[in-house]
């Protein structure tokens, strides 16, 4: 990634975006990278599918996810109810359509995943930038904060806080974000430590720019690549933890179905209707695999040195 040397309105900001050796602009390079990589293509396709399911679920889902039919409970896949309605993935223990619930389930997963990643990015990046830029005792205190967060058992702490404060979408998002920021802080801190010694930062300091301006205008754009990669993995991680919380009975309840809660319900009927536990698990796995594959490709693309 190229370094920005001057501030807004100066020569560096007016120049067009950098071009690769092949003469492509950065967005075109990214697009080409995605198209030529099977990993990235698969990841993007899966992510698109999840987004489409979440946004357009009322139009895509064949049935109302909350509509019960106690006369047609635990129906297997590809079954038709006496009233003529077709259930591609069968019905659950309350006679609700499994496919419709799985499609609607993408909403909770995606909302939680994206919100958690966004908040965790904000907290972690801010802490990482401040720790790396100022160093000294500020760095020591903030890094101990990371150690404290790592030492606390994330899921157990989330369960306890949710049980005490009550389960709501906002509480779940905030609590999960508080368990996910450390990766951002550590990586951004280490990148900032090396950036702050570079000439463009020294030049900005010599020009008398304030610390906040140097950090956010100059250092942040240069440590952005790993942030995007970690944020991608954080979305996947949050989807899994949210599903785990729902599985434990501490997820969002009510009309909105969630994959974790479907899995927990399905477990009871494992012997007679194994698809009830299999299908939501497949939806979670596919989404997380897609996001992780894309994140994996993104890491290799943005910094081939990081390729594991």
């Amino acid at each position: 990634m190229s370094q920005r040397i001057a501030g807004p309105g100066t020569l560096a900001e007016q120049t067009p975006p950098p071009r690769s050796a092949g003469g492509l602009s950065r967005p075109a390079e990214v697009l080409l990278g995605i198209i030529t990589s099977k990993k990235a293509m698969f990841g993007i396709l899966v992510i698109l599918m999840v987004v489409i399911c979440a946004v357009f679920s009322p139009w895509i889902a064949p049935h109302d996810p909350a509509a019960q039919s106690l006369a047609f409970r635990l129906a297997p896949m590809f079954s038709t109810a006496p009233d003529g309605t077709f259930h591609l993935l069968g019905t659950d223990h309350l006679g609700r359509d499994v496919l419709s619930r799985a499609i609607y389930g993408a909403r909770v997963g995606l909302i939680v995943g994206l919100s958690v990643a966004l908040i965790a990015t904000f907290i972690g990046v801010t802490i990482g930038l401040v720790a790396g830029y100022f160093g000294g005792w500020i760095d020591a205190v903030l890094m101990r904060l990371c150690d404290v967060q790592l030492a606390l058992p994330a899921i157990l702490l989330a369960i306890a806080i949710l049980a005490i404060t009550g389960v709501s979408l906002l509480n779940i998002v905030l609590i999960l974000a508080l368990t996910q920021w450390v990766a951002f802080a550590r990586v951004v801190r280490s990148a900032t430590l090396s950036e702050r010694e570079k000439e463009y930062v020294l030049a900005a300091r010599a020009l008398g720019f304030g610390s906040a301006r140097i950090i956010y205008r100059y250092i942040l754009p240069n440590v952005f690549a790993p942030i995007i990669v970690i944020a991608t993995f954080a979305v996947a991680q949050a989807i899994i933890i949210e599903a785990a919380l729902s599985f434990l009975g501490l997820g969002i309840s009510g009309a909105t179905p969630s994959w974790g809660a479907m899995l927990a319900d399905g477990r009871t009927y494992l012997a007679i209707a194994p698809s009830l536990a299999t299908i939501p698990g497949l939806f979670i796995t596919l989404s997380v695999v897609g996001i992780n594959l894309f994140g994996d490709w993104l890491r290799d693309f943005l910094d081939p040195k990081l390729k594991m």
Binding site: R144, L145, D147, V148, L150, A151, L152, P153, A154, I155, L156, L157, I159, A160, I161, A163, I164, T165, A236, I240, A243, A244, F247, L248, G249, L250, L263, G266, R267, L270, A271, P274, A277, T278, G281, I284, T285, V288, V289, N292, L293, D296, M308
Partner: protein, 305 residues
């Protein structure tokens, strides 16, 4: 070297103090810790008496130092559901969690080390690509779902293994495999990347130049050094697992501290939850510290950096 050890010890103490503070804060989230710690059917008079008795009517920081004093003397509270002190109750369940964590870790390493080594040696071949995709899958599939699927296959369908509990020695197989599979991916990728780094070192090139067989170069020269960074991560993983097997313990009704704490949350028996969080954090910090200190023995350069 000595100053490094002292500084690591001081850091660990600071972290543990902060963890104790957060654990203490947990009870105050509800606004009234006395209400949280008393049984749901307690009378108003009993709650008031308990509040005074426990000092919850005292200033906040005075309460914290009292709490700190109590935990340092081994008093982690009283479980009203089990009608006994919390610490022995948690310690009684700890061996089950530790056994599960260690077995899962060993299982993951048995698979991850050969997979990581083969991937590194056969870099950028279909074998490497397939292994890394499988590793990514392992990291992506939720453990609790794998657990349910394994129960369905090996317990419900084939009837080979018990579905839950720990009555027979076979009971540990499914939970340990479930927990281990999630770690295989991460560990295999770590071994691969560490191995790739070592394979490019001069001493490995020298070993090859001496005409040693590839097997000998990989096994005797590269692997030993490539596993050094793995020690740190495995230590961290053990620390995390000791407090993080909650969901898997619930899936398999494994009688460890994770299962105990979920039951405690459901039954509003918060002193147990508080104790498990505190104990998990202590175990994680101590394991981390032990690994760091062990690492300075393995690689003395660390202590002088």
């Amino acid at each position: 070297m000595g100053s490094y050890v002292l500084s690591r010890l001081a850091q660990a103490v600071v972290v543990l103090l902060a963890v104790a503070f957060i654990t203490f804060l947990l009870l105050h989230l509800s606004g009234d810790p006395a209400l949280l710690l008393m049984p749901p059917d307690a009378t108003r008079a009993q709650v008031i008496e308990f509040r005074t008795q426990m000092g919850f009517d005292r200033p906040f920081f005075e309460q914290f130092f009292q709490f700190l004093g109590r935990i340092l003397s081994g008093d982690l509270g009283y479980s009203w559901r089990f009608q006994e002190p919390v610490l022995p109750l948690v310690l009684e369940r700890l061996p089950a969690t530790a056994l599960l964590a260690v077995t899962a870790l060993i299982f993951s390493l048995i698979i991850a080390i050969p997979v990581g080594v083969i991937s590194a040696v056969k870099r950028d071949t279909p074998i490497d690509n397939a292994s890394m995709v499988l590793a990514l899958l392992g990291q992506s599939i939720p453990g609790f779902w794998i657990g349910i699927m394994l129960i369905f296959l090996f317990s419900v369908k084939l009837g080979w293994l018990p579905t839950s509990g720990w009555e027979t020695p076979q009971s540990i197989i499914l939970p340990a495999v479930t927990l281990g599979l999630a770690l295989v991916g991460r560990n295999a990728r770590l071994v691969r990347s560490s191995m790739l780094e070592v394979l490019g070192e001069d001493y490995v090139k020298a070993a090859r130049a001496k005409g040693l067989s590839e097997w000998r170069v990989v096994n005797h020269h590269a692997l030993k050094n490539a596993l050094l960074p793995v020690v740190t991560v495995v230590g961290l993983e053990l620390g995390i697992l000791l407090g993080g097997t909650v969901v898997i313990e619930v899936v398999f009704a494994w009688p460890g501290i994770g299962m105990l704490s979920v039951q405690a949350v459901t039954g509003r028996d918060y002193p147990i939850v508080q104790a498990v969080i505190l104990l998990s954090a202590v175990l994680f910090t101590l394991t981390n510290l032990a690994v760091d200190l062990l690492y300075t023995r393995i690689d003395p350069r660390i202590g002088y950096k």
